[in-house]
Symmetry: C2
Subunit: 354 residues, 2 copies
Amino acid sequence: MTGGVLVVGAGLLGTSAGLALRRAGVDVRLRDSKAEVLREAIGRGAGRAEEPGDPPAALAVVAVPPETAGDVVADVLTSGAAEYATDVASIKALPAARVRERMGSTGRYVGSHPMAGREISGPGAALADLFEGRPWVICPDEHTDQQAVTRALAVARMVGAAPVTMSITDHDDAVALVSHTPHLVAVLMAARLVDAPAHEIRLAGPGIADVTRVAAGDPALWTEILSANAPAIRDVLRNLRADLDRTLAALDAPDTAQAQLYQLMRSGVDGRARLPGKHGAARTDFVTVSVIVDDRPGQLARLFADIGAAGANVEDVRIDHSPGQPVGMVEIDVRPGTDQTLRAALTESGWRVP
Amino acid sequence: MTGGVLVVGAGLLGTSAGLALRRAGVDVRLRDSKAEVLREAIGRGAGRAEEPGDPPAALAVVAVPPETAGDVVADVLTSGAAEYATDVASIKALPAARVRERMGSTGRYVGSHPMAGREISGPGAALADLFEGRPWVICPDEHTDQQAVTRALAVARMVGAAPVTMSITDHDDAVALVSHTPHLVAVLMAARLVDAPAHEIRLAGPGIADVTRVAAGDPALWTEILSANAPAIRDVLRNLRADLDRTLAALDAPDTAQAQLYQLMRSGVDGRARLPGKHGAARTDFVTVSVIVDDRPGQLARLFADIGAAGANVEDVRIDHSPGQPVGMVEIDVRPGTDQTLRAALTESGWRVP
């Protein structure tokens, strides 16, 4: 990209973008308010420091928290550091409103959101491959210059992402449904454990571990995200509460409310089935093969070597723990048709394939 | 066990118990109201059919749905088919009440609950190792004969489980917290997806997949479980709703309620941290090493072989999908101290270890 890219904010997303763009041969300048963060990102090869004589960058990628993203975009555009700018905050109405407020127009700005992340943060957690194959949502409106969109699309493609265009409202509604409300639900469930007796928590298994996994995310960042997308989340959460209230009423008279409880369970199955699987395939496109393994070094190596030798491609894998015991179960998802061959081959190699 | 074990109900749990007990050399008789189910379980080696001249079994293990468990226990004890009986339903107050109603006393019965299962059912899904290392809760009360407890403990140990004794109330409260309410929460979230626009669901990632995973469970069985443990679940769910209502209020005025939202996020992190990890170790006892892999057969084999060669024992593994792209990230949890060596060894072997 002639003119290069200016990345502002050398955290997980900014440094990852820098690494991926450098790999694609792009001139990347980095900026961060913290000198040691900037140093680490440069040290990792995510780009170079800005220099006084630099011409305006073709595009600024602003990777700072949602609440400051709009201001940083406005600063970068008005100072002449970049011709166009995008930000990568996980909500899009807030930064766009701030840019409009500051600049009167949002022409040279287009908001975007790469659907990628990790539960750890900072330049040390950055990955050149973080965006590979992930949706990168780009949200132009009627005031956006085509050049801003073109350049944001180019960056998304250069880092290996799959660009998707949608309106700001559609984006913020979508993440309220598929990211922000699930986070809240996980947190609400996890919060029930804080004061629970130890003998109850002792019976916890993989189910509640799955339900609450995302609740471990950074509380400060999530507070900011939820605040910024409050109206859209509230809509989803209100509907969820209506179902919850009906469920509570049904639990008050379970003998007469079985049909209602069943209907809710059925909706859960149906809703879950709509989630995209790997490569967009429905989850039912895979068959699970379970294998018992001993909890010793080298067992998984031997198992996966045998799977490879059987010619099977693993779509997903889960290890199911056995607390207190030296055995576990490995569940391997493969395409239907390959499961029989795999079962036979693993049994042949001495694995316990129930 | 002299006298042998009678397993009633040759589904997932009953057949798995039969397989494990047979392996331990126990004489297992099987009973199921469906002839073809019984045939399949016997065919898999889970035991033999009952015979007219059989003496009473030392213990009956009743593995039928919660709503009929108490009646089946009473039938088995009054008919003389077994001297003592336990059931394995996931709730304990309901079957105990039914046994007391039918027999006037619960002396020869002790309820139990192996904390093991799969998302598939029937004798075909049974595993001799299903209970290995899992807690098997046994719930005696002041009327229970010591022999009933002794025999139930013996069966739990023979199938490889880790027996835990607690009161019926403690058990039902515990599963309401760690299993039934999380299931409901997952269902409530998944139900929001039923009528959602496809362009919103398209942005779904691994977070919501985790939160809603258990919602795929059998709706009829779950309706029965939730109905039977309604009072205990209601207590947990009411507290959750109180937090939810506070959250909705905070989302109505997010600018003034940041401290409150932050506090909730913080509780989520703290609650999540209380969940037991593998072998009872806290989850923070592990360090994650991430590796980029190509989505081709043999890649995981090579990776796990290299991990084995490095001497590292894998505590957990996750494969993170990249929809539409031929790459993925494998996250490997290892004990602190081994992660540096593992990173170095994998990098040395040519892996991308960011």
